[in-house]
Amino acid sequence: PPRSRHGAKLLNRAWTAATGRAIGAGATRAATPAAEDGGAGVKTAAAPPHNLLPPPPLPPRSSPATPRRSWAPVPTCARLRRERRGSGSGIWLCLSVCAATPCARPVPSPSRRTISSTGIQASDIRPLPVLRETMDYLWHLLNSSEYPFEIVHDFIFDRTRSVRQDLSIQNLVNDQAIGIYEDVIKFHILSHQRLARSCQDSDASSLCYLNTEQMMKCLLSLFDMYHTIHKINSQSNKEAEYYSFFVLLHMGCKIPKMANSLSFWYSQLPASIVRSKEMIFARTILRCYHLGNFKRFFCMIADEATELQLCLVEPFLNEVRARALMYLNHSGYKLQHHPLTHLSDILMIEELELEDLCRICGLEISRSGDTKAFAPKQTTFSLPTPLSKSSGIYISREIKR
């Protein structure tokens, strides 16, 4: 979409100006990138805008122990901030340059290198503390609401791939590295929810797919890391929850990385993980889904899902509701209509949204006084794909508590 391209262009131009390194416009993100995401492809330089300061001189190459710094000194950054505040591109320029300040946040472009590129210097690779700082900064950025989420997502998507690449090149597998991976997955889950809510067109649905694909790759890498640290009798206290995400993703569309069946996957897991509270929740949810017990499905999600589990399942909920309508339409008695009020309680959706959903599925709603209902056995029903993504479960858990 134009806004997204505009935002991306501004970002790239700002980055080129700030770092002195060329990055290309229109970087392609392959649907099935190579293992651990070798870089984002060939980049070409974009000419810096005339009203930006010239890029700062690069400092001497640092030792592997210290992070490479190619940033402007703080006063320049502050001046830029003052000069650019108020202009449309200001925040991104500011963020890009601020990201390059010693005070915080090295967030280089993902085009720096690929796994296969030659001539990588040790000083090019960010050590663990710097990667941790980078992740912290990106988290801070995630909550920025000034720009459409797709632009923020794009930026963080690329940067987190770069972080993972750095971890992978260094073959880092320890608690900190695992923490970073868990945070990356958290980002993908939140994106999964927000992209589904905010985006309805085909460009956005490809963003959703790519996000899910990256999430899956990240999860599988994380599981390998868990397996590695088990050998040294270490464990992450979030393991069970992250394993449960893999199970919950089976409610959505299948992506190639999920090639192995769930049955086989379970057979490889330790019993302690399979029997954990988070995994039992995910397994039960999936079971209720297959059994058609939609009442228990939604109740369990409302009562027991963690925040991240809720974010993960939210985009699937309307499909589950549509499936419930399909069963009820097929199996109900046509002379006894199904009131939407009752159905909205079971499916945990606002009545007006449910009405919309019924219409999308081709169901006619009848009115009797104040009561709206649908009559089963309507032959016009069809399960639409893609469905509009839901805004979640309407019963607030805060209110319930």
Partner: protein, 330 residues
């Protein structure tokens, strides 16, 4: 046969694999398959030694990579056999050795390429292979179909393996039945207790009983009790899906009881009765949940009829309200 060093307990260098490679090189040059038995022996020994070596590596805290290397070597052997000519008849044996390696390593996705070669390449006529190799092949490919829940194909393959397996080989028959029984259950075929006892597969006994009785509590208890074992085999999810069939059987039993008491109203089952029955079985469910499940049973053609939402009644068809599965999975 090389033995591990007695002093350190670590495996000797891969001399067996070097021997195997040298033999393979010569084997490629021979036009006739006169040394096929020797080639198979080499393949078998390399796999067995690699498994033993990996066990010792794990015990000494090292990375077990011998079986993976054995797999790579056996792929080369497969390549040498998967050619036009008389050597191809030995390819299925090597395929089965590869399956054993991939299943042991948990890399079953690698089976795909060899299966594709066997099943689609024009070099092979399946009937030409020795029976024992065909049985092993069908057993492993049947297991893969169970993982993917392709029950009809899994049934065909595992039944083939069962019918052609040596009847004296009880352990092999047991291995086949371990996966065939869940598949048969999912298509509505129940084994006799005597079969389960004969082959020591009593973990399925309560599950079969729950299907006969419509006893949901028994099904849940059986799945809980044997959860670890069933998950490790990869059949737990298959058995979990039997829950719908158990519900169906429960509704059928209520219908039979009602027919005896009041034949004219036997086809109408109040949802409250189902709620009370489930409560008696120790399962707490409200009317809305029961309605959802009934809707699912009707949709999946396990029950013929409809439910009246306002009256909270399940109305069964007067003709054949409980259609049989007829060998098709739910």
């Amino acid at each position: 046969t090389p033995t591990p060093s007695a002093a350190s307990g670590t495996p000797t260098p891969p001399s067996r694999r070097l021997l195997g490679s040298a033999f393979l090189q010569e084997f490629r040059n021979w036009e006739t398959p006169w040394a096929m038995e020797a080639m198979h022996m080499v393949a078998l020994e390399i796999r067995l030694l690699a498994e033993k070596a990996d066990r010792e590596l794990v015990m000494s805290g090292k990375n077990p990579d011998k079986l993976q290397a054995a797999g790579s070597f056996l792929m080369k052997v497969f390549g040498a056999l998967a050619v036009k000519g008389p050597k191809r008849v030995g390819a299925l044996y090597v395929t089965c050795q590869l399956f054993k390696i991939y299943f042991r390593l948990g890399t079953v996705n690698l089976c795909r390429s060899v299966i594709r070669s066997i099943e689609t390449a024009r070099n092979f006529d399946f009937e030409d292979f020795p029976v024992k190799d065909k049985v092993t092949y069908m057993y492993y490919t049947g297991r893969l179909e169970v993982f993917n829940e392709n029950f009809l194909v899994a049934d065909q393959k595992l039944t083939y393996a069962l019918m052609h397996c040596n009847p004296q080989s009880e352990s092999n028959l047991r291995k086949i039945l371990k996966f065939l029984i869940p598949v048969k259950l999912s298509i509505g075929v129940l084994p006799r207790r005597t079969l389960l006892e004969k082959y020591n597969l009593l973990e399925y006994a309560d599950i079969v009983t729950s299907l006969r009785r419509g006893d949901l509590r028994l099904l849940k208890q059986a799945l809980d009790r044997h959860e670890d074992q069933l998950l490790k085999c990869g059949v737990y999810l298959v058995l979990e899906k039997l829950e719908l069939q158990v519900y169906r059987r429960l509704v059928k039993k209520i219908h039979i009881i009602q027919r005896e008491k009041e034949p004219s109203k036997a086809h109408q089952i109040k949802l409250e009765v189902l709620v009370k029955t489930l409560q008696w079985l120790g399962i707490t469910m409200d009317v809305d949940e029961v309605e959802c499940i009934m809707a699912c049973l009707i949709y999946k053609n396990l029950i013929k009829g409809y439910f009246a939402h306002k009256s909270k009644v399940l109305v069964l068809s007067k003709q054949d309200p409980f259609p049989k599965l007829n060998g098709k999975p739910v």
